[in-house]
C-alpha cells in the first residue's frame, strides 16, 4: 500500500526529480507539528497578521429571504487579510519553506486569491515569488494580477491548454521540477501529491475549529448543515474537518455546474484518474485525456479535486451538489443587496445551493453554516460586464 492515501485516493504521482523534495517536506512538516515554537509562531501570525479568528455572522436578511425558518450563518473568511481563506495555508507553508531553507516560492493561481496570498507571505518573509496564471484568468481576475505585481511577485501568463488553473498548475510543477533545490511550491488547495493534501487541510482546519466553537457559543448547538464550495477543496475541508465526526451534521460540497459551455463538477460527473500528482476524481474523456473544465468562478474552474474529497464522496459522508454560473451570480447579487457583503463568485456557489435547496427545507429552526471563503472585489469587473 502506498503512502499518503485517503482510501484508494491520493498518492505521489510525480517525476522522480521531485520525490526527495516531497520526503523533505513531509519530514519538515512532521517536525514542525511537534515543535511548540512553530505552532506559536503560526498562531501569532494568524491572529496579528491574518486577523483571526474570523467571526460567524448571522445573515438575518439573507435568511429571511429564503422564506422558511432557516438561520444562515456565514463564516467570514472574506474578512481575512488578502480577502480569502487562502492566506491561512500560505502563512503556514511559508514557515515550512523557511524551515527548509528555501528562498523562492512558486504558486499556481486561478482566482488570483492564492497568488495574492503567496505574494503576500513572500513579501513578509523576504522570499522571491513567481506565480503562474492562465491567460483567461488574468483577464477575468485582473485586480488580483495588479496586486500580485505590487507585492513584488513575478506573474507568468500561461497560454497552453485551457489557459486556466489546470494549465497554470502544470506550469508551476514544471518550474518546481527545474528549480527544486531552492524552491518551495505552495500548492493552493488540498490537491497534489502527498503530503500536500494533508498539510493544506491541516492548515485550513482552523476555519472549522473556530466555527464549531462559535456555533456552540452563539446557538448552543451545532449547525444542521455545513456548506462550502469545492474547487480543489481546501476551504471546504477546512470547515468540514471539525464536523466530520459529528454524524448529525450534514456536510455539503458545492461544485461548479457551469453553463452550456461545460462545468467543473469533478465529483458529480468525473471518474477516478491521475492528475497533478494524485489519484482522485477527474473530468476526463474515454481515452484518459483530461477534459476542459468550465466555470464563471476562476477558482472552481478545475477538472480535478483533492483526494480526500473523493474518499468522503465514496464514504457518503459529504454530499456533493452542482450550482450553475447563473445561480451563483444570482446568489452573489442577493448577498450583496441584502447583507452588504460582496462574496467571491466561488463562495457564491455555496450560497446559491442554500438558496435553492435549504431555504424552505424541514425543521423550524434549521441552522445552516456557510463558509464564505472569500470576498468578491476581484469579480466586480467581470460581473459588471456580464450584467450590463
Amino acid at each position: 500500500m502506498s503512502r499518503g492515501r485517503f482510501g484508494a485516493y491520493g498518492g505521489q504521482f510525480v517525476p522522480e526529480t521531485l520525490m526527495p523534495c516531497l520526503f523533505e517536506l513531509e519530514e519538515a512538516y512532521s517536525a514542525a507539528r511537534s515543535d511548540a515554537g512553530f505552532q506559536r509562531e503560526l498562531d501569532d501570525l494568524l491572529v496579528r497578521y491574518v486577523g483571526r479568528p474570523t467571526p460567524v455572522y448571522l445573515a438575518a436578511r439573507f435568511s429571511a429571504s429564503l422564506g422558511g425558518g432557516v438561520r444562515v450563518y456565514l463564516k467570514r473568511e472574506d474578512l481575512n487579510h488578502t480577502g480569502a481563506h487562502k492566506i491561512n495555508n500560505c502563512v503556514g507553508q511559508a514557515l515550512l519553506a523557511r524551515r527548509m531553507n528555501k528562498r523562492r516560492l512558486v504558486a499556481e493561481t486561478g482566482a488570483g486569491q492564492h497568488g495574492v496570498a503567496t505574494a503576500t507571505v513572500a513579501a513578509l518573509f523576504g522570499m522571491e515569488c513567481t506565480v503562474y496564471m492562465g491567460e483567461v484568468d488574468i483577464e477575468r481576475q485582473s485586480p488580483n494580477v495588479r496586486r500580485m505585481k505590487l507585492l513584488g511577485a513575478k506573474v507568468v501568463p500561461v497560454s497552453s491548454g485551457t489557459r486556466t488553473l489546470k494549465d497554470a498548475t502544470n506550469e508551476t510543477i514544471r518550474d518546481w521540477v527545474t528549480n527544486v533545490r531552492e524552491t518551495h511550491y505552495i500548492i493552493g488547495s488540498t490537491v497534489g501529491p502527498h503530503p500536500y493534501p494533508t498539510i493544506v487541510r491541516d492548515l485550513q482546519s482552523v476555519i472549522g475549529r473556530e466555527a464549531r466553537a462559535q456555533m456552540l457559543e452563539t446557538e448552543g448547538r451545532l449547525p444542521d448543515d455545513v456548506v462550502a464550495c469545492v474547487g480543489g477543496g481546501s476551504n471546504s475541508l477546512g470547515i468540514f474537518s471539525a464536523f466530520v465526526e459529528d454524524r448529525d451534521v450534514q456536510l455539503h460540497g458545492v461544485e461548479a455546474g457551469g453553463s452550456d459551455e461545460g462545468d467543473s463538477a469533478t465529483l458529480t460527473r468525473g471518474r477516478p484518474g491521475v492528475l497533478h500528482g494524485a489519484y482522485s476524481y477527474l473530468l476526463q474523456d474515454e481515452h484518459g485525456q483530461v477534459s476542459p473544465a468550465h466555470s464563471i468562478a476562476a477558482g472552481l474552474d478545475y477538472p480535478g479535486v483533492g483526494p480526500e474529497h473523493s474518499f468522503l464522496k465514496d464514504e457518503g459522508r459529504v454530499a456533493y451538489h452542482r450550482v450553475t454560473d447563473e445561480e451563483a451570480v444570482a446568489a452573489f447579487q442577493s448577498l450583496t443587496r441584502l447583507e452588504g457583503i460582496v462574496p467571491a463568485l466561488e463562495s457564491s456557489h455555496a450560497l446559491a445551493f442554500v438558496q435553492r435547496e435549504l431555504g424552505r427545507a424541514r425543521g423550524e429552526r434549521r441552522i445552516v453554516l456557510v463558509n464564505l471563503s472569500g470576498r468578491g472585489d476581484k469579480d466586480i469587473d467581470s460581473l459588471e460586464k456580464r450584467l450590463r
Binding site: 517525476p15 522522480e16 526529480t17 491548454g161 521540477v177 481515452h287
Partner: protein
C-alpha cells in the same frame, strides 16, 4: 521472444553505444510519424521510444507539449498508438518502448494495456509520472505480461535511492540528466556523469541518459560514461520545423551524425561499456 533486457545487453556486448530516439505518436501526423520511425532506424537508432500524447504532460518542456497537443488534435489515442506500433513492429527490427503518463493507461485498464502492448510488440514502458513508490502497484502486472518496467533516476535522487531504483529497473535505467523538464537544451554533464557512476556501481543493467541531449557533441560526451543516450525534444523540433514531408530526412540526417559520434567514441578502447 526478444526481451528489452536481452537487446540492451547485446548492444553493450557489441560495444555499441545505444541511441534511443523518441517520437510522439501521431506527430506530425500518423503517416509522418511512421516514416520518422523508419528513417530513425535506418539512420542508426537502436531503440524507439513512442510517446503517448497526454493533455497535461508535466514532465515535458514546450517542444514535446506542442507535439503532444498537435497529436491529440489529430485524434491520437493510446489504442490507436498501439495499433500503429503493431504495424511498425512488423517492419522495424528494433525494440519499441512506450513512454506514457499514467492516466491513459489507467483508463484503458492496466491489464488490458499490458496485453495489448505486448501483442503490438512493445517491449518496455517508461512512466514519467509514476514514482518508484507508486510503481509497486503496476510493475508486477506489466512485467508479468512481458513488458520491461524502466525506472527513472534523477540528480536529486541521492546515491542510496538512485541505487535502489536502478536495481529494480528492467531493460535499462533511465537517468535524467538534470533537474527540469524535457527540452532541447544542454544537459549538465557533471550531474549526469555523477548519476551514471552511482547507477553503475549498483547494477549491470545498462544506463541511458535522457533530457536535454540535443547535439551530437553532447551525445558523445554523455556516452563517455553512459551506455546510451535518449534524444526526444531535438527530434520533435526538427520534425516540426518545416513541412511534414521533409521531416524524416531532417531527423535522419541529425541521427546519422549522432550515430557517427557514438561509433567513433566506441572505437576508443578506453571508453567503458
Amino acid at each position: 521472444m526478444k526481451t528489452l533486457a536481452g537487446e540492451t545487453r547485446a548492444l553493450r556486448e557489441q560495444r555499441r553505444k545505444a541511441l534511443v530516439a523518441y517520437f510522439t505518436a501521431g506527430y506530425p501526423d500518423s503517416e509522418a510519424f511512421a516514416s520518422l520511425v523508419r528513417a530513425a532506424v535506418d539512420a542508426g537508432a537502436d531503440i524507439i521510444e513512442v510517446g503517448i500524447p497526454f493533455s497535461d504532460p508535466i514532465a515535458d518542456g514546450p517542444i514535446i507539449q506542442a507535439s503532444s497537443s498537435a497529436a491529440l488534435k489529430n485524434g491520437m489515442t493510446l489504442p490507436l498508438a498501439l495499433e500503429t506500433i503493431a504495424r511498425l513492429h512488423a517492419e522495424v527490427p528494433v525494440p519499441l518502448v512506450v513512454m506514457s503518463y499514467l492516466n491513459p493507461i489507467l483508463r484503458l485498464g492496466t491489464d488490458a494495456f499490458a496485453r495489448d502492448a505486448v501483442a503490438a510488440g512493445v517491449s518496455g514502458v517508461v512512466l514519467p509520472d509514476v514514482s518508484f513508490e507508486e510503481s509497486h502497484s503496476l510493475r508486477p502486472a506489466l512485467s508479468h505480461a512481458g513488458l520491461a518496467y524502466v525506472d527513472l533516476v534523477a540528480p536529486t535522487s541521492g546515491e542510496a535511492r538512485a541505487q535502489v531504483i536502478a536495481r529494480a529497473s528492467q531493460g535499462f535505467v533511465y537517468a535524467v540528466s538534470m533537474t527540469g523538464v524535457t527540452g532541447a537544451r544542454s544537459a549538465s554533464l557533471a550531474d549526469a556523469s555523477e548519476l551514471v557512476e552511482q547507477v553503475r556501481a549498483a547494477t549491470d543493467t545498462p544506463v541511458y541518459v535522457g533530457f536535454g541531449v540535443s547535439t551530437p557533441d553532447a551525445a558523445r560526451e554523455i556516452a563517455r560514461t553512459a551506455d546510451g543516450v535518449i534524444i526526444g525534444s531535438r527530434l520533435m523540433q526538427l520534425a516540426g520545423d518545416g513541412p511534414a514531408r521533409g521531416s524524416a530526412a531532417r531527423v535522419a540526417d541529425f541521427l546519422a551524425s549522432v550515430r557517427h559520434e557514438l561509433d567513433a567514441l566506441a572505437r576508443d578502447a578506453r571508453v567503458v561499456f
